[in-house]
Symmetry: C2
Subunit: 276 residues, 2 copies
Amino acid sequence: MGGDNAPDAILDGALDALDLLADDDQLVLVGDEEIIKDVIAERGIDDSRIVIDPTTQVIAMDDPPVTAIRTKPDSSIVRIARLGGKRSLKDGEHCEIVISAGNTGAMVAAAQMSMRRLPGVHRPGIVVVMPTFHGPVVLCDVGANPEPRATHLHQYGLMAAGYAQKMIGIDNPRVALLSIGSEEAKGNTLVKEASATMKKDPFLNYVGYAEGRDLFDGKADVIICEGFTGNVVLKLAEGLAAGLFKTIAAEIFEHDPELAARFEPVVKSIYKKHDY
Amino acid sequence: MGGDNAPDAILDGALDALDLLADDDQLVLVGDEEIIKDVIAERGIDDSRIVIDPTTQVIAMDDPPVTAIRTKPDSSIVRIARLGGKRSLKDGEHCEIVISAGNTGAMVAAAQMSMRRLPGVHRPGIVVVMPTFHGPVVLCDVGANPEPRATHLHQYGLMAAGYAQKMIGIDNPRVALLSIGSEEAKGNTLVKEASATMKKDPFLNYVGYAEGRDLFDGKADVIICEGFTGNVVLKLAEGLAAGLFKTIAAEIFEHDPELAARFEPVVKSIYKKHDY
């Protein structure tokens, strides 16, 4: 139940999702029982598909991940990771999908411990789907592993390409490695090593290096990078886009207040087009 | 004479700068003599402050830097680096400022060889001044060194703070390290090491980690990072800002063509405010 604007935004989102679930689905809300019950009551919801799984401990956003999951076994993060795994659970306790907006490092560590990884994958990677002017771009990793090896980047490529294909419906997605030039000689040791092996993989539609500007020019459907740069990229893009809209709005208002009202539907339309 | 839109943009910029130079300044144009003479003649310029220093070799944008400066001693990049250095030059041949828009890696390598570094500085860093919604931010390094050590980041901090103070006039500039969270525990080995030493430096107004979004929220005047991430950040910001303006313009035109004409001065005003 952690994350930005938690617990309200998290619970609101979960409860809104009830409309999308089948009659025999279950929505398991893991966290502080009292808060969960309050929000459900406030919204006047009475739905038999809701199950509350109470926890007593909380992993804070700045808790060191590994220590946190060891010392707080009764936190929502550790609990949902166990619900997502299949070990030591009774029939019907296993969840097919688990969602958290809490401490990313702790979630990654707990997921890795309880849910394991795909066969052949040695490190988890975090994927985001970025809205761009040419359609969605799948970016991986945005922060699970700030110091990966080249083989991990290669494995991110395979996972993220699968995600782009199955979840977004992009046929034979073009996979690029984020670097600092399109030429082979540029980049650091990590991307040069990853590029050499990805190039040879027949299961990857590898298209070479992408630069920072290529995230938005439609050069690739999937862009792979280590988690440090990926996280900076994600937060930079969010901050810049939000700031730019704010600056434009302020400037319009200063120049021509009447224009501001007419500009609003334009902004709404842009957001709608680029929201995946 | 290399770079985007070369040689026209480079020569146009250099010739425009004549208006800003003193009567006893010299503008030394280094490159293909014929092209330089043609452009000067085309613009009808006759100015005794212009000196042409002809070269016969060209370092291409994708030439490997170190090989290029060794095998092409008569290129503009190698030549201006020598003009910027003081060794083996006759009186009056030394230039106080050298400017190139060509192959960055080759320029960095040539500069390091002929012009040396500041005392105590072990690696060059490339600085850019980014326009943000809260004023200019000095970002260093944006690509000189994709695999620096922690001490190099510390030295970038000192150099970039000096630049912010002397060139932009920011008093006691706040220096931050780019990372993936504001908490001490986040980041990679490199930023953690750099942070530990920068924190103790009495000559630095070090304010801790900045995240990707902090580039635009006025948290710091100087942001330090390794050249790989810095280069991605720079190109991403350029691509995203340009793309966003284009998208907004297209959307406005689709919604309300008459609005487009009224939107133009708003965009011009934003560009003007954020052009340092």
